[in-house]
Structure formats: structure tokens, C-alpha cells
Symmetry: C2
Subunit: 121 residues, 2 copies
């Protein structure tokens, strides 16, 4: 495998792990259930620009989080298009988010310490 492929793999792994964490956070802070497009909008607003998760990539992650009982969803008719699936975080989702935040914090610190001094020569 060449370096370019290794970089694509690295980026994919990093995004895959963090996408679930980010979506769970967005839904933990939402005051009402959100459907895909609204979640995509919040990702853009929060990060002030191009989000790291494209809208199309949201849906498999949302379904997977629902499959793990961290989110629940309901389909509602829309007056302006096809029915929409609204997602909300479950109680278990909130508990899991606390655990994931802990895991994230220790991995982030570990990486930051390792990166200290890199590229300073």
C-alpha cells in the first residue's frame, strides 16, 4: 500500500470513529427531534463551514446509532416532500455519550502528547 492509500485509510478511520460521537453530541444538544437535513445544517453552522461529514454519509451512521438503541426515530409526513425520519437521543444514548466523551478525551490527550515537538526541527 502506498502512502496516499495509507492517508486515505487514516482519514477514513478517524472520520468513522468521530462521526458517531459528533452526531450523538448534536442530538444530545437538540431541543427537538431532527431529521437528516437539519442535522447536516447544524453540522455546518457549528463548525462554520465545510463539515467533515457529508449529508449522504449521515444516514448510515444514524441508522447504526439507532440499531444500538442510542437514538430512536419516527417518520412524519411532510407537506413539502417525502416523509421525514426524525431522530432523538435516548436515555441510553446520553449515558453512552458521557462514556464516549471520556474515551475521546484520553485518546485526544494521548495523541496531543505524542505530537508535541513533531515538525519542530
Amino acid at each position: 500500500m502506498e502512502a496516499d492509500k495509507a492517508t486515505k485509510k487514516f482519514e477514513k478511520e478517524m472520520k468513522s470513529g468521530t462521526a458517531s460521537l459528533v452526531l450523538l453530541s448534536i442530538l444530545a444538544k437538540a431541543e427537538e427531534p431532527l431529521y437528516g437535513y437539519l442535522i447536516a445544517r447544524r453540522l455546518e453552522t457549528e463548525t462554520g463551514g465545510e463539515p467533515l461529514i457529508k449529508q449522504g454519509a449521515l444516514y448510515p451512521v444514524l441508522r447504526s446509532l439507532e440499531g444500538s438503541s442510542l437514538l430512536s426515530s419516527e417518520v412524519e409526513a411532510s407537506t413539502s416532500g417525502p416523509p421525514r425520519r426524525y431522530y432523538r437521543i435516548t436515555r441510553q444514548g446520553r449515558e453512552t455519550l458521557v462514556a464516549w466523551k471520556g474515551i475521546w478525551d484520553s485518546i485526544r490527550n494521548f495523541v496531543e502528547v505524542s505530537l508535541e515537538g513533531v515538525g519542530d526541527e
Copy 2:
């Protein structure tokens, strides 16, 4: 999938992505080639305690980085045991590390912004 399994998956994905970044950083800062045990020791020293990558988990990552030409290695006889495989970072590895650090920085910022306010209620 239950929440526990989702948490194991999350942790595994996060560690898998970051392990390559951390090992590349360690070898970028090393003043001489290092073999597995020495790398494991540096991980412990740097992070001041239990490292997030166990020694046994290092080897597949090192081999994969070498397969991508980011590291090179050489086997040397040891007076005190079996031969040791010494790893050093390649020029391509240094260039790749700069790219990965950029990817890490933007993903870290994205996650940090998303986590802001979570658990504050």
C-alpha cells in the same frame, strides 16, 4: 447491537486511527532506529502511565506502516535474546506525518466544537 458493543466499536475505531499517527510521531522524534520494546517504553514515558496501545498491538501497526513505505526496518542480532527488528521513519513517512497532523487537527477541532455544551445541563 447494544450500547456496550457500540462503545467497544467506537473505542476500537478511535484507537485504530490514532495508533498509526502516534507511532509515526514517536519514530519521527527518535534520534535512532527503535525496536518494538523501546517504542512501547517511549509510549509509556510520554503519556506518563498506561499507554493506549499495548505492546502486542504495536507490531501489526508497524508492519502496516512499513508496507506503506512510511517506515523502513532492519533486523539486527541481539546479544541478549532473539534478533530485533529496528524501525526508522522514511522521508515519505515524515511528509505523510505532516499531512496526518493536518487531518488530525481539523477532526479534533470539529469534535471539540460539537462536544461544547454537552453534559452541561
